[in-house]
Symmetry: C2
Subunit: 216 residues, 2 copies
């Protein structure tokens, strides 16, 4: 917005202090700094949407790019870190909902509902992680959130089936299938949120629970 005279985010009149900062020792506040950077990134993404530059993140965190690189690695690492955080928060929220269910079907429905709700609430962040940031290797970017989540889902699925003497080896593939279905429906729904969400939840839950077949 306000054009900075410098390539960095230094205020136009002043000069940023250079060199090692006062009262800062080896591996002192490293985790704190990491946290501050990730927080800055999340903030920017929430406010300005999924396209964000490392420069902007560094500036918001009060540092410069090389510091950001030192703390986080490269942009892929940043996206990874954000994905991990989001996956944890998402899993926590969704798991709590699933736990409230009294029967498996209700558990699945809560899962679907929780997923869509969470994605809608963290719209920009969700889109950044699943379709946004990485420079190269965008290939598995789409699976970033999914890889974590799929592992989380595989175990309950396998358990559920084992307890009922059904083939549990499907758990991994089903996890990815489940996540993919949720993800695409989410993307489609987020585009304009034109359809009633409860209807969408019912329909996709029905597909995942009962499948498409009408006869045996």
């Amino acid at each position: 917005m306000s054009a900075p005279r410098d390539s960095q985010g230094t205020p136009p009149g002043t000069t940023r202090r250079r060199g090692r900062p006062a009262g800062r020792t080896v591996a002192d506040g490293v985790i704190a700094d990491r946290e501050i950077l990730l927080e800055a990134a999340e903030g920017l993404i929430r406010e300005n949407g999924p396209s964000v530059s490392l420069e902007a993140i560094a500036t918001r965190a009060g540092v410069t790019k090389p510091t950001l690189y030192r703390e986080l690695g490269d942009k892929d690492a940043l996206v990874n870190a954000l994905a991990e955080r989001l996956a944890v928060r998402m899993a926590t929220a969704v798991t709590a909902l699933v736990g409230q269910a009294s029967v498996p079907f209700e558990g699945l429905r809560n899962l679907v509902s929780g997923y869509l709700d969470f994605a809608a609430r963290e719209r920009h962040l969700y889109l950044f992680i699943t379709a946004g940031g990485a420079r190269d290797d965008r290939v598995q970017q789409a699976l970033l959130l999914a890889d974590g989540a799929a592992r989380q889902f595989a175990e309950p699925i396998a358990d559920y089936r084992s307890r009922r003497n059904a083939d549990a080896s499907v758990a991994t593939v089903w996890s990815y299938g489940l996540l993919g279905a949720l993800h695409f429906v989410t993307l489609w729904w987020l585009k304009d949120e034109a359809v009633d969400i409860e209807l969408v939840i019912d329909q996709i839950t029905s597909l995942l629970w009962s499948g498409m077949r009408l006869e045996d």
Copy 2:
């Protein structure tokens, strides 16, 4: 690779002819040029993977960037055009397989199998379209292939259910769910192709056909 002296792909000794080319009239071979450019893009992606620059594409097509922009618009338009082509080819291949089935279940299985096969055969192109190219707005990039395909799938699904007096309004959501499941399983499987493909096909077909439930 071989560093060009020029910023363009001009051979080091020569100078590229400038200006309007001989024997070229308004809207003459426009479609042909478009085709050549798209072909060049596909070739490069097949050979070098999903990361490709517009410069490289233009050079391979024997033109320069401004010409490419005149023919295609911007990079998003290029990705769009490639997605459309791929969607058509994919739909053709898959539809043929589905048509060979004698019962609906077999149709679905052929669909799944055809999707995975096609993606594996056009690995780089598939990844470029679904996870690769677009500059901004990568958001709906993930849905590029899906949007076309989902429309294709929605009608058969609705038909199938209508004929059996089942609720056909699920068709749209199910299409995206189906595509999402296929896409994620495909990405996961393409990562290292470690699992037997027939097993994957069986498992994901089972999920889509019968769902996850074990009891009513």
